[in-house]
């Protein structure tokens, strides 16, 4: 049976429950990817409408209007302007919510002007009686020239009616509901004459697309004789917006009645506490503590379990598979590599859980409001709080989250300093180093010293982020207006389904994205560690035998051969080459290899050492990476490699250095220039080198 497919675009303001509608329509039948060439998240899902009809639903980024002021919003316009795009919708669904209908309708009238069949979804209908709102649906349908689905995504009501409307989408009128060209009849008249076959509103959107959005390459203008100055265009856009609101106000005057005497709402009461000058900050601080507690403490249980499981799996594979190169690859390359990825899941999941609950509930906007003035002293925006918190998970989504900062200078500084915050990739490095050099004792019988060290490292990260923001704010000479508009959405209890899907999707894309690199590197490292270019590598057995006979060395033959091989392998050669540079910091060539490979992703550090040491060790015992590192001694002096000074130096290096190629790539994409990632690389790594040099030379 042939199954028909229709393309649907889900469009709407932020905070209207658009994603809930998407989740209700598609369930877990969704995919998250990126739009080609840009880093805006693209969510596509499939919804079965009838036995022979399915819909491909595209959840477009939230936007207040078709006048884009950010990359995310621009995606919406690019799609709707391009009829040949494979995702171009057969039906547009504009999601609005009952309490903000007026504002939400602005976008709706713009979509209508594009003459796409458009369904109007009014969400959160369950709140109508509570808010004292009644709607005259037939009147609204007539005036807005559309079909309306009144739904409650929270209570899963009205979804079937919506599906019905989608199935019968050919019955939906496509004509605009108002004539926006009245704002300047002469100008639009000329435009129409010059391009009789083009949709007027489309022309207008193309002309004005870059008025509010500077990052865009200027589109070819329809005709130079029509060009107006940017100021004039902006004035016209203002007029257009006012015109649209006039229409909406008239429609709603008849179509919507609001009983003012409805219950005094939760908003003002909660706002008074959550944005209080004392309690507000205390609550925010408390929530931050809770987040860190979950990352450091609660997730350690599953993480320890994962760590030991993979260690035993590795020994099991080694013991039970036939001996040979393939087994070595599995037991020493792939399994430790996979373990290095899986171990992240608990922390990442906790972080995304908190962030998505804070966003969904409407609390994040309150934090932005509370922190704006404080952050501005450092050249940041209240909106920088979200990237800086997200940065504790991963700098990549964090840097993308800086997108909704309107002010370019504040946004740039946020992007530049975010990599200083301690991302979860540093965590396994910290965890293992701390457990090696800091005793597991309690200070004053209360505070765990290892925990305190970790806390200090986080504070160092945040401190450096804020401090460098302050410096950058002084140095950078960028003039920009202090645009800052934040919607303060109503408070909502987060929907379990939305949060769960969000956590699963984000964790999945992080693990698979970073995972591929980590796994590939593990295998490459294993190869480089077990192969060598020169004769000496291949003749290791004989050389050691002669040395043993000549009594120039002593010890177990097997051990000596292994370490000799490693030293002469490809990776050993790389490590030895850079050793002079890193020796003043207290690192030997093995650590050097781990540091170098960290440039793909920091967490590779642990995996690399795991690979290096399992190559260097002959035992099949169930020793975890940590034990192997603790046992590592200098081949000549017999002193511990991971002593206090080296450990501290390494910790500081990982705290400050820019070691993540993915972060550099995302900075390049978001700033549209190589200049800024280079600034990050040189400044951060240079700073790290100096700090580590001083620390090691003092402590050794």
């Amino acid at each position: 049976m042939k199954v028909g497919n229709i393309n649907i675009a889900l469009i709407g303001n932020p905070n209207v429950g658009k994603t809930s509608v998407f989740n209700q329509l598609t369930g877990l039948n969704q995919q998250v990817g990126n739009y080609p060439g840009i880093t805006v998240e693209k969510k596509v899902g499939v919804c079965k409408l009838a036995s022979n009809l399915k819909a491909t639903i595209l959840d477009l980024p939230g936007t207040y209007s078709l006048n884009a002021s950010s990359l995310d919003e621009n995606v919406v316009i690019e799609l709707l302007l391009n009829r040949n795009d494979k995702d171009y919708p057969d039906v547009a669904i504009v999601v609005t919510e009952v309490e903000n209908l007026k504002r939400n309708l602005l976008l709706f009238t713009q979509i209508k002007d594009l003459e796409i069949p458009t369904i109007l979804v009014i969400n959160m209908a369950d709140r109508m009686s509570y808010k004292g709102i009644t709607l005259d649906i037939p009147y609204l349908e007539k005036m807005l020239k559309t079909k309306i689905a009144l739904i409650s995504s929270r209570k899963n009501e009205g979804i079937d009616e919506l599906k019905n409307l989608i199935v019968n989408y050919r019955n939906i009128p496509t004509e605009p509901c108002l004539n926006a060209s009245e704002i300047d009849p002469v100008y639009f008249g000329n435009l129409r004459k010059a391009f009789p076959n083009q949709l007027l509103y489309k022309l207008w959107l193309v002309i004005t697309q870059d008025v509010n959005f500077v990052n865009l390459d200027r589109k070819e203008l329809p005709n130079p004789s029509f060009t107006k100055s940017k100021e004039d265009l902006k004035r016209l856009q203002h007029k257009e917006t006012i015109k649209r609101y006039q229409f909406i106000n008239e429609v709603l005057k008849v179509g919507q009645t609001v009983d003012i005497n409805s219950a005094k709402d939760l908003r003002s009461r909660l706002d008074r506490i959550l944005m209080h000058k004392v309690y507000g900050y205390l609550i925010f601080f408390g929530i931050l503590m809770l987040i860190f507690q979950s990352i450091f403490d609660w997730s350690s249980v599953p993480m320890d379990f994962i760590d030991t499981s993979f260690a035993s799996l590795s020994s099991y594979a080694k013991a039970n598979l036939p001996t040979g190169i393939l087994t070595d690859l599995v037991a020493e390359g792939i399994i430790p590599g996979l373990g290095g990825i899986v171990i992240f899941i608990p922390q990442i999941a906790f972080l995304f859980l908190f962030i998505s609950v804070l966003e969904e509930s409407g609390y994040m906007s309150r934090v932005v409001f509370l922190m704006d003035k404080i952050m501005r002293r450092f050249g940041l925006s209240g909106k920088s709080v979200v990237p800086l918190i997200s940065g504790t998970a991963c700098a990549i989504p964090a840097i993308m989250a800086a997108r909704n900062i309107e002010n370019w200078k504040e946004r740039l500084i946020t992007i530049l300093v975010t990599p200083f915050t301690t991302c979860s990739a540093r965590l396994p490095v910290y965890a293992i180093l701390i457990s090696l050099i800091i005793p597991d004792k309690r200070l004053f019988g209360v505070f765990n010293m290892q925990g305190l060290t970790l806390m200090t490292l986080y504070m160092l990260g945040f401190g450096m982020a804020i401090f460098s923001a302050y410096i950058l704010n002084k140095i950078l000479k960028i003039k920009s207006n202090s645009y800052f508009v934040v919607e303060m959405p109503g408070y909502k209890v987060p929907m379990f389904k939305n949060v769960a899907i969000n956590v699963i999707e984000k964790t999945k894309s992080f693990v698979f994205g970073a995972g591929k690199i980590i796994l590939a590197l593990s295998v490459i490292l294993w190869f480089l560690g077990s192969h060598g270019p020169t004769e000496t590598f291949h003749n290791a057995d004989k050389i050691i035998e002669t040395q043993l006979q000549n009594k120039t060395v002593s010890g177990e033959k097997e051990d000596l051969v292994a370490s000799y091989k490693l030293e002469n392998s490809y990776i050993g050669i790389v490590g030895k080459t850079i050793e002079p540079v890193i020796k003043p910091l207290g690192y030997d060539w093995k650590i050097g290899i781990a540091v170098v490979s960290s440039f793909a992703a920091r967490e590779v550090f642990v995996g690399t050492l795991a690979t290096i040491y399992s190559v260097g060790s002959h035992s099949d015992e169930e020793t975890t990476i940590k034990n192997k590192m603790a046992a590592e001694v200098h081949p000549v002096t017999g002193a511990k490699i991971f002593n206090f000074a080296t450990g501290v130096s390494l910790l500081l290096f990982y705290a400050f250095a820019m070691q993540c190629i993915s972060t550099l790539a995302i900075t390049k994409k978001e700033t549209n220039s190589w200049q800024w990632p280079m600034v990050q690389l040189v400044f951060m790594s240079g700073f790290a080198y100096v700090v580590c040099l001083i620390a090691f030379q003092i402590l050794k």
């Binding site: 856009q237 000058k277 209240g382 202090s482 800052f484």
Partner: protein, 79 residues
């Protein structure tokens, strides 16, 4: 009496008259901050900035700098 939005007291209402087009982003208009609409300051952030306001059923936060570019009229009876 015409004053700018930043001069409005907490809880006080005013009608938006006009604004400086260079300093007020289009986004603010799109969110309902339009001439002729009633605006009320709900709260001021702890360090005096930004402002939390209700305009045209929208709840927004803007900075003082933007608020100063918006002229509002205070209806006489509310004085």
């Amino acid at each position: 009496m015409d004053i700018n939005l930043a001069q409005l007291q907490i809880g006080q209402k005013g009608i938006i008259q006009e604004f400086n087009i260079d300093l007020v982003p289009l986004k603010l208009l799109e969110m309902g901050c339009l001439p002729g609409n009633e605006v009320q300051i709900l709260q001021v952030a702890p360090f005096g900035d930004p402002l939390y306001l209700n305009v045209n059923d929208s709840y927004l936060a803007i900075r003082l700098e933007t608020a100063r570019a918006i002229t509002v009229q205070i209806p006489n009876e509310s004085k």
